[in-house]
Amino acid sequence: MYETIAFYLFAFLTIAMFWITVTTNNALYAMSSLAAGMIFISAFFFLLDADFLGAVQIVVYSGAVMAIYAFGMMFFDTLNEVKERNPKKVVFVLSGLIALMLVVIFVSPIISSKVQALYPMVEGVSNPKEVGIVLFTKYLVPFELAAVMLLVAMIAGIILAGKKMEKSETETEQEEEVVFEKGVEQ
């Protein structure tokens, strides 16, 4: 019974949070509700006894959304509302997609009764080990590919950011500003 109550509570909270993310005009509310929704999702993993994935969900997304805050801080006055232009086409496509998704969600239980697990849980093995077993046998190639992609992204990031690493920011500040102003004039 408790699990049912918890499921509906967190289902409601998650949907409400993402609803706020989509509909609000305030960047601060949007980011905060996104973070809260991501953390509430971890509750479903805990309810399904997938503790490891639940904790990973918290660790990964709290960091990822924190990076979004950094950009929000730089781009917006987060306490004021952002004036949005919502072209009709976007609204049409978005609402159409949502309707389609709802149909899929409501139909999926009918299909899922025929679905069988290809790699069923190994009995008596702890949660992280189970993830590891599947990840390093069946899904080894996608896993390594993802690792290579992340490595490429990291090297690219370092090269982009590291061009003037030897120079001190405070010493070159004046110079940079002049260059920036010239750029604006052009």
Partner: protein
Amino acid sequence: MDAIIIETIIKAVVVLAIISALAGFGTYLERKVLAFMQRRLGPTHVGPFGLLQLAADGIKLFTKEDLIPQNANRLLFSLAPVITAATAFIALSAVPLLPEFELFGYTVKPIVADINIGVLFVIGVMGAGLYGPLLAGMSQANKWGLLGAARTTVQFLSYEVVTGLSLLAPLMIVGSLSLIDINNHQTGGLSDWILWQQPVAFVLFVIAGFAETNRTPFDLLEHEAEIVSGYVTDYSGLRWGLFFVGEYANMITIGFLASLIFLGGFNDLWFIPGWLAIILKVSFLFFFMLWTRAAWPHVRPDQLMWLCWKILMPLAIINIVITGLVMMV
């Protein structure tokens, strides 16, 4: 089923009460220890040895006017301190505080939620706790607050990698993420402590722990000399108090984590029983944090990033590679 629920609720209330009282007592200890190290007296006037200073501070916090600045975002402004305090206690819920003991013929496990990925959960929830300072800084219409929030982001993105990577090596040796398993791995007394096998990981974890709990070499978020009070600039009264209950609870959690993972946990040590051993270890680590505060100056944010990304992270990765090689060969 119902018995478990009632037991959990009782444990949660007891942990909440004791740790928040200890957090309050921690402020007194901090002032006394700092005063001793700086050749001052510290609080002396209220009660014996100034012990009742705690009560006086509490009354002051409770009765102070609760201010919310005019242009602040009221909802997030009032939510932020609750996030800090709540996540600090949620993180504690997965930490085994003492060895099992019997009370009225009933075996009590002093852990609120025994989940078998304890370490990951504690680290993750403590990390989520930094949303408190972040939202606090961003919701007050105050430049110092915003600077504090920006520094929170910088600090979080720097230390989180080091914490995770430094813990990975000892976890590889134990082969489990459960704090109880980690503790049971070190039952053989002093020579079994993981500290001797993983000294580098211990040092890295403690450094990252200082950044995580916002302690002095890395207390960028509320650096008085630079940004007034950072994210707490506009806070007063109980809301301000909640931030500090959360911070001290986090210090206690880091103390427990370090002693459970590296310092033998709650196993008996020579003639010292396990429950006393872990309390002594946590107290020493708490004292160590105050000692560091008295001995070291603040660092700048760029120095923190430089330290975390260019020194500590490569060290942690080298440590993991060497540990892996030793385990494989």
